[in-house]
Symmetry: C2
Subunit: 367 residues, 2 copies
C-alpha cells in the first residue's frame, strides 16, 4: 500500500484544536499511539508493520493531513537496510544455524541479510570487508569466528565507521569497548571431559578444531584442566591438531586408533570432527560406545541423527546469533542517533551445556 498524497480537505487538524502548526510525525505517532519509528516504517512502506497498525497510522495521517518531509524521507531511504554476515567455517550445520538466527532478527527489524563467507587467511581481509560494507551499503556487520576474534580487524572496521558485533569464544566479557556475544567454550569442554573421566576413561584423545578460532584453544584448555583436576597425566600422543571438519576428524581418529595404546574415548572439538571419528571407528570395526566412546561439541542436527547419537555440548548457535544481531541493530540505532530505538541491548554470555547421548559409555580396556 502506497501513501496517498493528502488532499486539501483531508487536513482536519485545525478542526480539532491544537496543534495549529502543520502536524509533525510526532503528532501522528501520539495520536496513533505508536512509536515514531512505526510511523516512519509505515511512511517508508516497510513490511515489518502489522496490517492493523499500518491501517491505523494511515488513517491518522489522512485525518491530520500530515505531509511527510520528502527530503528527510529520501535521506531516510538512502539509509541501508541490509546487514552483512561474515564467516569462515567448513561446518554447514553451524553456518545454517547462524544464518537462521541472524535472519530472524533481520526480518523483525526490516533488514535484508547479505552473506559473506570469506577466507580468514586472506591477506587483505580488512580491506575486503570495508569494501563489502561500502559497496553493498551494509548498515553493519555480524562477525563470526575467527574474524570476530581479531582486535586489529575490529579496530579497522570501527575506524571506517562500520558498526560491527562479534560472536567470540571467551569465558567472560572482554570489556574492550566493542559489542560482542561470548561463548564459554572452556567450561563446556571441561564438563565433557569430566563426563568421560567419570565413565572411567583415562586415555582420552583430543582432536583440535581450526587454531584460527579462539574456541579451539579454549576447548583444549577445558580438556586439559579436567584431566589435571582428576589427576590424569597429559599424553601428547593423544592430542591431534586439525580443522573443524569431518575429514580431519576421520584422519585424526585413524591416527589415534593406530596407537599401540589407543584411547578408549575421543573428544572431537565439534560435531563434524566427532562424525569423522565415528566413521573412523566403524571403518576400524569398533563398536561405539562399547569399544570407543566419542563426544563432540555443538549439538548439531547430525549429533541427533547419527547412530549412535552423539554426546556433545549444546551450543545455542541460533540464539547466540539472534542476540548478536539485536546488539548490532541497537548499535546502529545508537550511532544513527535514532532516539526512538525500542531496545537497549548489552553484551551477553552463553554457556554450552553437556548433553549425554548414546556415543559415550563406561570404559573397557582397549584391545
Amino acid at each position: 500500500m502506497r501513501l496517498r498524497a493528502p488532499t486539501a480537505n483531508s487536513n482536519r487538524s485545525t478542526l480539532q484544536g491544537p496543534p495549529m502548526r502543520s502536524p509533525t510525525i510526532k503528532d501522528v505517532a501520539e495520536r496513533s499511539q505508536v512509536s515514531l519509528k512505526t510511523v516512519s516504517r509505515v511512511i517508508n512502506n516497510e513490511a515489518t508493520v502489522r496490517e492493523g497498525t499500518r491501517n491505523k497510522v494511515l488513517r491518522v495521517i489522512a485525518e491530520m493531513g500530515y505531509q511527510p518531509d520528502l527530503s528527510a524521507r529520501s535521506l531516510r531511504s538512502a539509509r541501508s537496510y541490509a546487514l552483512g554476515l561474515v564467516y569462515d567455517n567448513p561446518n554447514p550445520y553451524y553456518v545454517i544455524a547462524v544464518q537462521s538466527g541472524v535472519l530472524s532478527v533481520c526480518r523483525e527489524s526490516g533488514y535484508g541479510l547479505q552473506i559473506h563467507p570469506c577466507d580468514s587467511n586472506s591477506a587483505n581481509l580488512a580491506g575486503e570487508l570495508v569494501h563489502l560494507a561500502r559497496h553493498s551499503r551494509l548498515a553493519g556487520l555480524v562477525l563470526a569466528p575467527p574474524m570476530s576474534e581479531r582486535l586489529e580487524l575490529i579496530r579497522h572496521l570501527r575506524a571506517n565507521n562500520i558498526p560491527v558485533v562479534r560472536i567470540i569464544s571467551a569465558a567472560a566479557d572482554p570489556q574492550d569497548g566493542f559489542p560482542c556475544v561470548y561463548v564459554d567454550d572452556r567450561d563446556a569442554a571441561y564438563d565433557i571431559t569430566k563426563h568421560l573421566i567419570q565413565l572411567g576413561h583415562q586415555r582420552i584423545g583430543f582432536l583440535w578444531g581450526g587454531e584460527a578460532h579462539r574456541s579451539s584453544p579454549e576447548r583444549y584448555r577445558g580438556y586439559e584442566s579436567a584431566l589435571k583436576d582428576y589427576g590424569i597425566a597429559l599424553d601428547k600422543k593423544l592430542i591431534i591438531h586439525g580443522d573443524y571438519s569431518f575429514d580431519d576428524g576421520f584422519r585424526g581418529a585413524r591416527k589415534l586408533l593406530a596407537l599401540k595404546e589407543r584411547p578408549t574415548a575421543i573428544f572431537g572439538s565439534n560435531d563434524e570432527i566427532a562424525a569423522g571419528v565415528l566413521a573412523a571407528a566403524k571403518s576400524s570395526g569398533l563398536e561405539v560406545p562399547y569399544d570407543l566412546s566419542i563426544a563432540g561439541f555443538e549439538d548439531s542436527p547430525f549429533s541427533k541423527q547419527s547412530w549412535p547419537t552423539l554426546t556433545t555440548a549444546k551450543q545455542a548457535t541460533e540464539e547466540i546469533a539472534r542476540h548478536a544481531t539485536q546488539l548490532l541493530i541497537s548499535e546502529i540505532d545508537r550511532e544513527e542517533n535514532d532516539v526512538e530505538k525500542l531496545t537497549v541491548v548489552s553484551n551477553k554470555g552463553f554457556s554450552p551445556q553437556l548433553v549425554i547421548r548414546g556415543s559415550t559409555g563406561p570404559a573397557r580396556a582397549a584391545s
Copy 2:
C-alpha cells in the same frame, strides 16, 4: 583506491591530437583497451577489476583528464548491486552448495548476495518476494525449487519487472520464455533403480521428497519406469510419502522395515532421506548393504562421510547454481540494455549421474 580529481595540467589530451572535445568514458575505454564496463567499474571503485587493469585505467584517466559525469555516476550507483537467493529446503548441504555457487558468480560480477529462505506455503509469497526485491533493491532473484516451479509466481514477478532465473526439475527445456536451469531428475532416478534391480533387488522401497518440489514426482517417475521396464510390479505398500528430510527418511524406513515382506533395498529421494534410512537400518540391527541396500540422491558431503558411504546420483548443485546466476546476470544486463555485457548465457540442462558406493550390494532374501 579513490579516483583523484584531475588537476588542470593533467589534461594532456589536447597535446595528443583529437579528440579536442572533453574526453568521454568511451575515449578512456579505447585508449585503455578495456570495455566501457571496466572503466565504469574502476570509476565506481568496484572490487572486480584486476589491480593491473585498474592502474592502467587510472593512468589513462589522469593522462586524458577525463572527468566522470557525476550525475551519471550517481544514477549508476543508484543501481542495485545485490541479487537475492530464494529457497525453502530443509537440507543444509543443498542450501550451502546453492549459496556457494551463486556467491561465486556474484563475486566475479561485483554483486552482493541476500539470502531469503522462505515458507513456500506462505499465502502471500508473491507479495513477499516483490516487497523483498523492492525494499532491498535487489537487481534480480535466483529462485530454487519449489518457488521456481510455480509459473504464476514467475509471471507475477516478471509483471513487476523483477528479473528472475529458475532452477527447476525437468527432463527438457520448458521453453516458456522464462530463463531457467533444468535438472533431469527422472533419468537419474531411473538409473538408480536400474542399478538396484541389476543387483537382484525386486522389492525396492521408495521414499518421496516434498511434493511441492517437482523433483519429487520426477524422481518417482524414474523409479516407476525402471520397475516397469524390468517387469517388476509396483507395490504401493513400498511407497511412502514425506519431506526431503532426515526425520521423514527415518520414519519412512521404520514403516517399510516393519512390513511383513520388507524391502531388500530402499531408494530415498535425497541423501538426507537416505541418511534417515541408514539410521533406521542401524537402529533395527540391520547391516548395510548385507541386509538392506540404500540409495540416495544428490551426492552431498554426507553421502561420502556416512558408513557405509552412500550410492547416490551426483547432482552438480554448485555448478547448477553458478549457471543460473550467470543466466540471471545476463538477463539483468539485457534488461538494462547494457550493451557492454560480456556474455550471452542460455538455458541449460543438467543430468545427475549415478555414483555407486558402499551402501548398495547384491540382494539376499529378507529375513
